[in-house]
């Protein structure tokens, strides 16, 4: 079994910041695992601006923000990068199993930082009645299709939820020539940034319905229309569309930590197991990547301090 001082799982903004900061705090044997074929995580698909205003005092797009950290890591041979490496098991003894093309690796770490990000809440979690045709996507998945894979998932969309990803996707689809019929929000106000309401919806005259919800999805093979209901009055209307995007929040991804029987502690980046840390959106869902960078750098320092104490 291989042995490492520090293993960081996930090379998005959290994992990259944690690995760099651990190195700068004195850790010289670091393995950085990333399941995708490149570093950067979700930032690669967030091609819109608005990143880095605090950390770099510049307005960057997601890929540009990620690039700053990627370039830095590539100058540090003490951080070994393993791409296409998918962690599948973790124990309390800090033994991590991961898969990569052609092999299964088992590794014993003195310290571990989990930076596995978050996952999107799905249609099933918000209980939208109706049929189950093709054309219903989590908004972040649709973002990956359009920005990474180069597919347009539909031509006429209705977006459920006014979180930032939903708003950003409303603009993205409009720019690509799709018609966004409406954004439907059950609350009284948006959960997204005001800047995004203005620049993603108002700029393109996209209607935003507060206190409304999708009460039914119709369609045999493909989405054909949705029924929208006003929560307070019960008034209903229909919108024809071929696609429904679900943007109803994010959940920290902590399956491996749970698998090890470990809990996330109250104090930031800590778990109930000494030497096992968690940072970024897998600790809590952040609004801004700048704060992910700041807090994940702290996780790197905490892991370095733990390793120093081990001697």
């Amino acid at each position: 079994m291989d042995k490492r001082d520090l293993v960081v799982v996930g090379a998005g903004p959290a994992g990259m910041a944690a690995a760099i900061s651990a190195y700068e705090s004195g850790v010289k044997d670091i393995l950085l695992l990333e399941r995708d074929q490149y570093l950067g995580g979700i930032l690669n698909q967030c091609i819109h601006p608005g990143f880095g205003l605090h950390h770099f005092k510049e307005d960057l797009t997601g890929p540009e923000y990620a690039d700053r950290f990627m370039k830095k890591i590539q100058t540090l041979p003490e951080i070994e990068i393993s791409l296409r490496s998918f962690a599948v098991n973790l124990t309390r003894e800090k033994v991590l199993i991961y898969l990569r093309p052609g092999e299964m690796k088992e590794i014993k770490a003195k310290a571990l930082i989990m930076a596995t990000g978050c996952r999107e809440r799905t249609r099933e979690m918000v209980h939208i009645p109706g049929a189950r045709p093709a054309g219903i996507y989590p908004a972040g998945l649709a973002q990956k299709m359009i920005n990474i894979e180069g597919w347009l998932p539909g031509k006429e969309m209705v977006i459920v939820g006014s979180g930032d990803i939903g708003l950003i996707m409303a603009r993205r689809f409009t720019l690509e020539g799709a018609k966004v019929k409406a954004v439907v929000e059950i609350q009284k106000e948006t959960r997204g940034l005001i800047r995004n309401v203005v620049q993603c919806l108002e700029d393109f005259d996209i209607p935003l319905y507060f206190r409304h919800q999708i009460s039914k999805i119709y369609g045999k093979d493909r989405v054909e229309k949705v029924e929208v209901t006003a929560v307070d009055t019960g008034t209903k209307f229909e919108l024809t569309c071929d696609t429904v995007l679900i943007s109803v929040g994010l959940i920290p991804e902590n399956e491996l930590i749970e698998m090890a029987g470990v809990e996330i502690a109250g104090e930031i980046n800590r778990t109930s197991l000494p030497g096992l840390f968690v940072c970024g959106n897998s600790y809590k869902v952040y609004d801004l990547v700048d704060w992910v960078t700041r807090d994940s750098a702290r996780a790197g320092e905490m892991a370095a301090a733990y390793l120093r104490d081990l001697g």
Partner: protein
């Protein structure tokens, strides 16, 4: 004519009432600081936006390369600019910040890559 807009200079999001005559701002109310007035004037008289999109590649390791305009362009030109972006087929490696189309649409801004693509 009174136009109602939301200031986006900071997260407070002041609701501004802007008195507009002949396309020009004559008075702004509802702003809690002077940034609101500057924002309202720009936003009513000549709104500008950074355009971000992605372009198709040929023979590179990634299918789509993200791009943006080097500076904001007039909001009214966003959809026209997208028609040009959609025509691009990128067949050579680019670095972050590298110019893909100089003086894009004659707007005095460049269309640049926002990611390394080899």
């Amino acid at each position: 004519m009174i136009k109602k807009i939301t200031c986006i200079e900071c997260p407070q999001g002041c609701r501004l009432e802007v008195d507009v005559e002949g396309g020009y701002v004559v008075k702004v109310t509802g702003n809690k600081c002077e940034k609101g007035e500057v924002y309202a004037k720009q936003e009513i008289e000549n709104p500008m936006r950074i355009l971000t999109s992605s372009v198709l590649t040929k023979g590179l390791k990634i299918i789509m390369v993200p791009v943006r305009t080097s500076r904001p362009i007039p909001k009214a030109r966003l959809l026209i600019a997208m028609e040009e972006v959609k025509k691009i087929l990128l067949d050579h490696p680019v670095r972050v910040g590298e110019i893909i189309i100089p003086d894009f649409l004659g707007l005095g801004v460049d269309l640049i890559s926002t990611r390394d693509a080899i």
